[in-house]
Symmetry: C2
Subunit: 113 residues, 2 copies
Amino acid sequence: MARDRQDRPAPLTSAVFHVLVALADEERHGYALLKAVEAQTDGTVRLSTGTLYGIINRLLADGAIADRTARDGKRVYRLTPLGREMARAEADRLEAVVAAARATRALARRSPA
Amino acid sequence: MARDRQDRPAPLTSAVFHVLVALADEERHGYALLKAVEAQTDGTVRLSTGTLYGIINRLLADGAIADRTARDGKRVYRLTPLGREMARAEADRLEAVVAAARATRALARRSPA
DNA sequence: TGACAACATGTCGTCAGGCGACATATCGTT
DNA sequence: AACGATATGTCGCCTGACGACATGTTGTCA
């Protein structure tokens, strides 16, 4: 069941966050999500359809996304306000983690050219 | 086995990255790692010991960290050059993902005061 | 027109990884 | 003496990611 997924500020998995970001500004259908994530990451992150539909079903159950059937029969997904908040919280969290990493000597950004 | 963990730019799990960052500038023993991660994340991320030692053993096997027994008997861990590179790569990756998220209207940073 | 790639949606089994629970032991404080 | 914090570690469960498979449509090119 969906349980307590939305009450914790639990770190989202990388894959879930990618999906949420891909839906941030526009609704997309499944295959378009696959391509959007790939494009967003310069081709480095490629979700398998198994991963994608697992994520979609969980996000739907949690109310983070909603779905709709378009006129051409495609199932399109969009972010709900809850999903937007989850993505926002995760972006904040990641930003803080990266900042912590960059604050160390060993992981500081290389001199920016 | 350790397989091909270092040749792919594979996204690290959140927990693994936290451990690597906690070891960036100074060596620590297990319990100190637990506390360091907690402190780094304002208490939001708490690794269980089960999680921690699983991660430690994998990182040791992969050559991302090395261990040493201190005079007081504590097992202390430190980052190897490989581990540093892994952490760096992950920091770069996360930075790009956050940038992509912030580039959307829905997830843009709130007006910075 | 036939073939093939890209588009599109989905299921299933496996496996790695995270996590809570448990097991010990020491040390400092009250 | 008792208790909580420090300290290290194992075990089993469950979630989630992933590759493989299944199926059908649309577009393009020879």
